[in-house]
């Protein structure tokens, strides 16, 4: 079977598995799923109503089949807090999260790759050790705490950046894409772009911390492997300047494994969006989930996590296909 087809089919299987796991955790693990779905303040009559609506008394296989049927129609259930179909809420809020996650991934790559190359070039020297310490610190700070610190210093004390939110209340423009950076550029007003950037600065920085540490570490170790290869040595002996060896020859070979971290990086951004958005009041899917948790809005918690996971699986599939395109050896394994 061609690689592409095989990879596509496994992804479908994985998505089905993810749905099944979510179903089992939501319906079989709790002692009374109806009470969870109905919410903390539901009266007994309402719990019974939910039990009937969701057919929670039916045999589990029957429940599973109807659950799959609902999902295939795009029916993720209804939030009992907003009384809205969950799918609508998720679609509304998705661009805000995606904008953060993409920019954070980009930032961590732009800074992390040169840092990793530098650390590898000066292996075991003082600057390597301090870069490594910095990278380890990046993966050790709880993101939500880092977010609080930035808020305290750069928003509250210094007033350089706005404390929270995506836009000041007096600024608005058309939102054709939902990505405010693009939308504000389309609005052709520098002051709009500036407002958007100021709001993006702190959340993106915080979300880039963890992937930045990860990227630096992985690029460093993969560069060290490549630099130890005979062809790197040969290039040096042939008199190729060190910069060219590092950035033109070695980095190209060290980047293939880095592509796989791109998936990991994105995953971590999505997970940290969940914590960071809550602190910065960012109207994305992460804060949608955290406020659902605070209200014990169970349908939203399970559906939201499911949607994020499916997006994550699809992103990984796309990255693998890209990886196979760049490095044909992947297709053979």
């Amino acid at each position: 079977m061609p690689y592409l087809v095989r990879r596509f089919l496994t992804s479908l299987l994985v998505i089905l598995g993810v749905i099944t796991i979510t179903f089992v955790v939501a319906r079989l693990v709790p002692s009374d799923p109806a009470a969870l779905y109905a919410g903390p303040r539901a009266r007994p009559a309402q719990v019974e109503q939910v039990r009937q609506d969701l057919k929670l008394d039916a045999p589990i296989v029957e429940q599973y089949v109807s659950y799959l049927g609902e999902l295939s129609r795009g029916d993720l259930g209804i939030s009992f807090a907003t009384r809205q179909p969950i799918l609508d809420d998720v679609v509304d809020r998705f661009p805000a999260t995606l904008e953060l996650a993409l920019l954070a991934t980009l930032l961590s790559m732009v800074i992390g790759i040169p840092l990793g190359v530098r650390a590898a070039a000066r292996q075991n020297k003082a600057s390597d050790t301090s870069l490594r310490l910095l990278a380890v610190t990046g993966v050790s700070i709880p993101v939500f705490w880092a977010a609080l610190l930035l808020q305290l210093f750069f928003a509250s004390r210094l007033g350089w950046f706005p404390l929270s939110g995506r836009l000041p209340s007096d600024v608005s423009f058309n939102e054709p894409t939902g990505f405010f950076l693009i939308d504000s550029i389309l609005s052709a007003s520098p002051s709009n772009v500036w407002a958007v950037l100021r709001h993006l600065a702190m959340p993106v920085t915080v979300m880039a911390l963890f992937p930045l540490g990860l990227t630096t570490r992985l690029i460093r170790s993969s560069m060290i492997d490549v630099l130890a290869e005979p062809y790197s040595e040969a290039a040096r002996l042939a008199g190729v300047p060190e910069r060219t060896v590092l950035y033109r020859l070695a980095l190209k070979n060290a980047l293939a494994p880095a592509l796989t971290i791109l998936g990991l990086t994105f995953a971590f951004s999505v997970s940290s969006a969940f914590l960071v958005e809550a602190v910065f009041g960012w109207p994305g899917i992460g804060s949608y989930l955290t406020s659902a948790i605070q209200r014990l809005d169970f349908p939203v918690i399970t559906a939201g996590a499911l949607v994020i996971t499916v997006v994550y699986v699809v992103v990984n599939l796309l990255l693998d296909l890209l990886h196979a395109k760049i490095d044909p050896r992947v297709q053979l394994s």
């Binding site: 796991i21 939501a26 939500f144 996590a305 699986v313």
Partner: protein, 295 residues
Amino acid sequence: MTAVLSGFTRRGTPHPGGTVWRFRRNKLGLAALSIITFYIVVAVLAPVITPFADQGRGTPDLPNRLMAPNSTNWLGTDDVGRDVIARLLFGARTALLIAFGVVSVSVVIGVVIGATAGYFGRWIDETLMRITDMFLAFPPLLLAVIVAASLGPSTRNTIIAITVSWWPWYARQIRAQVLSLRERPYVKAAQALGVPNHRVIGQHIIPNAMTPVWVQATADLGAVILVAAGLSFVGLGTRPPGADWGLMIEEGRSFVLAGQWWIAGSAGAAVTILALAFNLIGDVVHEVTSTKAGD
């Protein structure tokens, strides 16, 4: 050869060039190890160290709420008047319990599933690994979030929730180890002599497959602490009045911008330093056990 691998000579002293010897020469590793030892000691001795043990366990002291750091409460008090240091000490118990609990249970599950899959191969391997992949498909934290939401928030359920999302990594790693060990002559010999499968796995394969797993497990302790702090920060972990750093950050959050930084500030520092120490240890252990030079 075995002496070099285990790190000790027959007389029990570190073998020159062995892993323990190399670890002892690593200053970063030693620093990290002393930090971890310090955390474990203060966690165990928490009730002895602090004069505010009751407050550490959660008893409020309302007249003294939100006191800035002073000579009695060195790091101040929280919003219901509890000594912040006492809360940190008891929080260390929670954090370490969760970290070691999650990692050890996950390793056990991972060993059972990974070894079964790797040893028996064929459809057993295929089935178990496809299931493992499905668990791995969730972004870290999110599966734990769903499980914790279904079980209801508590420290015990935090351990269960994180374990559910953690074991697949070990299962995969052990399977890969077992796959290569399965073909070794001594395993083939044991099988030929009629040693039952469970003894071949238990006595010949697993002991030899564990080194990389321990390296990974050490490195993971820091990550588990961060995930647990995240869960309690959003309200899915330890509940009040339990002592938990993530919970302290969440409780202190609203006071930070008003200038009362010490609750969230010190709890965040406690998490960061411990996670940093575990991550450094993981790095260093990886470095001294890996045979590749310069890796």
